[in-house]
């Protein structure tokens, strides 16, 4: 097998482009990219060989045996078992090799890395949410350390999406109702394109993101700062901070009044200071306490005609973040317009 690896390496070296990407492939930005590219070029050269062989023969025959005066077709053998077996067995051996090489590369790509930095990923229409263990939440931009395996644990809240980073050569569908996993290790700091690669509706092509690979020694500070982003917001700006948190609520609560799994925040906003009726007949005034309870203990008071499906955010939101959400709903009209788009 070392012979095979050597051949693969030579072929890859002969054909891969500069570090910034070549003719066929974008730059190699992960430890897996090298393997994938080697296999790609291995198959490419075999393909080029056979393509040239077949087309050359075809053109040669068309020229040499074209129909013209005095040239009738020859009565050659109509079959030749030895020949046919040969061009059956040689391709068969080649494809078995290709399969094996591909399988080995694949196994390496999916094997659980040790000491990986883990991130929870949620795909929804049409953005990506990333949750770090330290509480930092990012939308569409994922900051990860360089030179260390990163493991993504992914799920979708609505339809099937797919997490695709071309420069890393990694892709995995993100399926609702299930967790799927993807890992990568990026040695070089930089910005790498993330695409959604499974059709998911209107803005499928706009569900792009950035993987921000940060130097390992800077990463801890950067991510700690992101976890505490809310501290940067002054009290009177908390509604805006709430808007930044809103993507985590948006799959069930709209801002324009239309109901989904949960009541629209606009409805709650309109009822502020007034009574709201619940499914068990009880009622309470819509105020700070009510919103706080809804976030931390949602099953206690279900609004009439809505299902009891909201998960609790206990332990997932800092106190200041909860305050931001309360202020966001209370001052909704100042932050977003009738359709739910941000003002200013």
């Amino acid at each position: 097998m070392t012979l095979l690896t050597t051949i693969l390496g030579l072929l890859a070296a002969a054909t891969e482009g500069p570090v910034g990407g070549g003719f066929w492939m974008p730059r190699q930005a992960s430890t897996a990219a090298d393997v994938v590219d080697s296999i790609f070029f291995f198959i490419l050269w075999i393909s080029v060989f056979f393509f040239v062989l077949i087309v050359a023969l075809m053109v040669l025959f068309v020229i040499k045996y074209r129909r013209r005066e005095g040239h009738e077709s020859a009565k050659t053998a109509t079959h030749n078992t030895a020949l046919e077996l040969t061009w059956t067995i040689i391709p068969l051996i080649l494809v078995i090799i290709i399969f094996y090489v591909g399988l080995r590369g694949y196994v390496g790509m999916i094997q659980e890395p040790r000491n990986a930095y883990e991130v929870w990923v949620t795909g929804q229409r049409w953005s990506w949410t990333f949750e770090h263990d330290n509480g930092a939440v990012q939308t569409n931009v994922l900051t990860v350390p360089a030179g260390r395996p990163v493991k993504l644990k992914m799920t979708s809240t609505d339809v099937i999406h797919s997490f695709y980073i071309p420069d890393f050569r990694k892709k995995q569908d993100v399926v609702p109702g299930r967790y799927t996993y993807l890992w990568f290790e990026a040695p070089e700091p930089g910005q790498y394109q993330l695409f959604c690669a499974e059709y998911c509706g209107t803005q499928h092509s706009q569900m792009a993101g950035i993987i921000e690979v940060t130097a390992a020694d800077e990463f801890d500070d950067v991510i700690a700062q992101k976890a505490n982003w809310i501290d940067e917001y002054a009290d009177e700006d908390l509604p805006r901070a709430g808007l930044r948190l809103y993507p985590r609520c948006q799959s069930c609560h709209t801002l324009d009044g239309s109901p989904l799994q949960g009541p629209s925040f606009r409805e709650t906003h309109r009822l502020w200071g007034q009574k709201r009726i619940f499914a068990d007949g009880s009622e309470t005034v819509v105020d700070e306490n009510y919103v706080r309870n809804s976030i931390l203990n949602p099953g206690a008071q279900i609004v009439m005609n809505y299902p009891n499906v909201m998960p609790t955010f206990q332990g997932q939101l800092k106190e200041r973040e909860i305050r931001a959400l309360i202020e966001f709903i209370r001052k909704l009209d100042e932050v977003v317009d009738e359709q739910g788009g941000p003002r200013e």
Partner: protein
């Protein structure tokens, strides 16, 4: 492929150039139809009795019996050449293959499913509890 010389009256009838081939006797057709209805009734009746694990096997066994009756008599396989029977079995093989591979795959990722029931299922269950 020319047919071999007919060896049974049924075959003789079938190989007649302008004949309509073997005709299944009407009593047999009606009898089979009734048998199928009876078996359907049995399936429903047994479903009401709690046999635990055995319930699904009983239901499957009756279904296999019914399917066999349909294949042999309604689909005429009992009087057809063995080749037709082979084709039928081949179709079953492909179905088995499909279901086996799909279920094998499903089994592999059971541990990755979201814990608990899906949200809509949850709400349905809770509605029923009330």
């Amino acid at each position: 492929m020319p047919d071999a010389a007919p060896s049974t009256p049924a075959e003789a009838q079938r190989s007649e150039p302008h004949g309509v081939g073997h005709i299944v006797p009407m009593p047999l057709l009606i009898g089979t139809g009734l048998a199928l209805l009876v078996l359907t009734w049995v399936t429903i009746a047994v479903a009401g009795i709690d046999l635990g694990e055995a319930n699904i096997w009983v239901a499957l066994a009756i279904a296999v019996l019914k399917g066999t009756l349909v294949a042999l008599i309604f689909m005429h396989l009992r009087w057809d050449r063995p080749f037709n029977g082979i084709i039928f079995v081949a179709a079953l093989v492909f179905v088995t293959l499909f279901i086996a591979l799909a279920l094998t795959d499903t089994a592999e990722y059971q541990s990755d499913l979201h814990p608990g029931d899906a949200p809509a299922v949850e709400s349905k269950l809770q509605e029923l509890e009330r």
